[in-house]
Amino acid sequence: MSSLKAFLVMGVWTIAVLVGLYLIGAHLNYRDPIWAIGIAVALLITHMVNMSLYFRITGNKPYLWFK
């Protein structure tokens, strides 16, 4: 259940970032090196936030052998 909740929150966060990138025109400017760096940093932060969200929401539960 906690994993499902985590996936939902991660999904919402990822979509929000992707929509944000689209709205500022990232898909049109990615060949500009400055834009490429900015987009890459945004994606990396999104990934790291997703990981943190999963860790915080699920805790140690997913890794336990005995349910």
């Binding site: 990232a26 898909h27 990615y30 060949r31 090196p33 490429a36 760096i37 987009i39 890459a40 940093v41 994606l43 990396l44 990934h47 790291m48 990981m51 943190s52 999963y54 860790f55 997913p62 890794y63 336990l64 052998w65 005995f66 349910k67």
Partner: protein, 382 residues
């Protein structure tokens, strides 16, 4: 001459990885080279399933046949090779998104190169690159056990696949906690490879995350610091992300995501096969029986003796060419064969269940047998 042949048999991956890069550069149907070589690997490993090895061996003076300087040099050399692999794929992504014209040009006056790439070929190129980026992990793993220049090279290698956290989690978590639920890289009985892929990857990253958070708290520093090795591990991956974003925007990111998924899937498949279902009491010493050895000839040479897990986990800082056969548990198949079996969970469980029965009866102590019985019940292995 014997020493020479013993050493060069560990160069299968460097050679095949270079061939894969060449396939990406030449283009056309050759972009599938890496994927095809992987299938050939499965075939050969299965065909030689009866041929087991004993490691690099020692000479009459008891000295290993492995040449330390040569093997280390090749492992270090693999870092630029894996970078070139990614650049070659990014170049193909660039061509795809630019809609490059199809044609034939000659590179260096002798190498025919097809310009332009179809969507299907781009898929093949990414699969090929992913397959060999994943195999790069065997070098990242080996070097993560070193303290010199090998350590940062290991972090950089793993960072190319977005998995730099592996180095800390592997040495300070997996090697201390294996065959116990405190080690996310050990799969309990009943778990599928697909579920293990996710849990092992996330669990190892969580270990590094928690480790750094506690360390920085003790030091009175902010979590958001360049002293945070979980953060710096991901920063190592930034050049790869920039490269693929620039090369192909959304398509580039999709290709990179696929590349990372394939390579990390291979990494977690190795963890899966190395300790599947084995159990150990908390805080009891790690013994040979807590790992599976996979020592078919092809696996031993291709995976630079990484399959000699029983000895590796008792002598963690021993070079791969010095690892020995210690008579530990052995499923009898190589990694390529085991990987193929694990892709089909019902088949894997049906086969490994018998091996685990043998382990429970032959290798486990009473306390471990008790834990195993409990898990067998839960996993419907009983």
């Amino acid at each position: 001459m014997k020493k020479f042949f013993i050493n060069i048999r560990y160069f299968i991956v460097p050679v095949l990885c270079s061939v894969t890069i060449l396939g990406l550069i030449v283009g056309g149907p050759f972009v599938w080279t890496g994927a095809v070589l992987f299938l050939v690997g499965i075939t050969i490993d299965t065909l030689v399933i009866k041929f087991h090895t004993k490691g690099a061996g020692v000479d009459e003076n008891g000295k290993s046949y492995g040449i330390k300087e040569l093997q280390n040099l090749v492992m270090y050399f693999m870092l630029p090779v894996f970078i070139i692999l990614q650049v070659a794929l990014a170049w193909r992504v660039y061509q795809y998104t630019n809609g490059a014209d199809f044609g034939l040009v000659t590179l260096f006056g002798w190498l025919p190169v097809q310009t332009g790439i179809t969507g299907l070929e781009l898929y093949g190129a990414t699969l090929s690159a992913g397959a060999f980026a994943g195999l790069g992990i065997i070098y990242g793993h080996e070097l993560s056990h070193t303290k010199d220049i090998g350590w940062p090279i290991s972090r950089l290698m793993m960072g190319l696949s977005g998995a730099a956290h592996f180095c800390y989690a592997h040495v300070y978590n997996h090697h201390l906690e294996l065959a116990h639920e405190n080690d996310p890289a050990t799969s309990p009985r009943g778990r599928s490879l697909y579920k293990h892929f996710w849990l092992s990857h996330m669990g190892q990253s969580k270990f590094s995350y928690d480790l750094e958070r506690e360390k920085l708290e003790k030091q009175g520093k902010s979590f958001f610091s360049l002293d945070n090795k979980w953060i710096t591990g991901y920063i190592i991956s930034l050049p790869t992300i920039i490269l693929f974003v620039w090369a192909g925007g959304i398509v580039g990111v999709a290709c990179m995501f696929f590349l990372w998924t394939v390579s990390n899937f291979e990494l977690e498949a190795l963890n899966y096969m190395e300790h599947f279902g084995l159990v150990r009491e908390k805080d009891k010493p790690i013994e040979h029986r807590h790992s599976w050895d996979n020592d078919t000839a092809f696996t031993s040479w291709f995976f630079i003796e990484i399959g000699r897990q029983c000895d590796h986990h008792v002598r963690g800082e021993t070079h791969f060419w010095e690892l020995e056969d210690v008579g530990g548990p052995n499923p009898g198949w190589g990694y390529f064969t085991g990987f193929t079996l694990a892709l089909v969970p019902p088949l894997w469980h049906a086969l490994i269940k018998k091996k685990l029965d043998h382990w429970d009866n032959t290798f486990a102590n009473d306390a471990e047998r008790e834990i195993a019985t409990k898990i067998n019940k839960q996993a419907s292995y009983a």
